[in-house]
Symmetry: C2
Subunit: 172 residues, 2 copies
Amino acid sequence: MDHADNAIDTIERELTAFARRARAAAARLHPDLPLVSYTLLAHINDQRGCRATDLAAHYLLDKSTVSRQIGSLEKLGLVERRPDPDDHRVQVLHPTRAGAELLSATHASRHTAFQERLADWSEEDLTRFAAYLLRYNQAGPSAPSDPADPADPADQTSQADQPDQPDPATAA
Amino acid sequence: MDHADNAIDTIERELTAFARRARAAAARLHPDLPLVSYTLLAHINDQRGCRATDLAAHYLLDKSTVSRQIGSLEKLGLVERRPDPDDHRVQVLHPTRAGAELLSATHASRHTAFQERLADWSEEDLTRFAAYLLRYNQAGPSAPSDPADPADPADQTSQADQPDQPDPATAA
DNA sequence: ATCAATGGATGTACTCTACAACCAATACCT
DNA sequence: AGGTATTGGTTGTAGAGTACATCCATTGAT
């Protein structure tokens, strides 16, 4: 077990820890907007209209799951479905006014939370950490990044709308 | 929006992406040993005997959740409960032989997956990335790291067995 | 001795998810 | 054109994971 292996173990452990906590925190802190719904809504918002199938492909979710998520987002009045004139099978999803507002409020509070947590990091460390995370998420033979926010200017390396790859963090 | 804010946005986005993918991957790739069970089993193994309450506190899980998880681990023959002679309310949890073996096999395959994903990283980058993750997970006013594997020599900064803090990654 | 605190289990309910089966619309192919 | 495959989406069903409330047994404190 050399240094690199130790580092890999640490990365594995810490990413796993993060994922577990994130999940718990999501349930705890999104009483009104569950994590998955938030993610999908954000994607819909960023794409300025996308189809349920796109979401399913992007997030590696079953289309039934997406269908129900969209259903609940619609029930909450955060998303609306518009028929696609070119293909009558398709519903183009758009955030409603309320959806966009909730999203921006949520994003703002998330950003603040991160800012607080990262308050004592130097700009250099922030930049490097961000770069490592990007690299990690894009890594692997066929692992595209997760261009969850392709509209984000910081997302310079986002690729096409491809499915995420199962992550070794939780692979066994 | 300065550089630091951009970096923070990237960190936020990438960690969130990771958490979402990890979740999906967990369900997909742990047919025999669900992620949570794996995590708890690993903790039990590392602690060489711990109580259900410890697990609940450590992972911010409800004790009912832990109780059921332990129940299923026991049903799978991976964990055994031993009465605590000093306190008859307590059950000390220990991995069975099968549990320890499954754990080490799982860990090995996880490590391999990470190794592959990180194969083209320099040792220096690995070390720094690991350090950043540790720092991130330990950050915050009252956010201890998640010493999931305190026995791991790489986990030099693990602290006491305190609950994890809700993570801004998914806080809204 | 009583009453509170602790460790744990159980009842119930909700979210997220997948798989399978299904329907409707479109595309392809001869 | 007609038949078949493909695609977009919904619904039925099932299971994991979780929380909250409640309950029981044991321990501790006054």
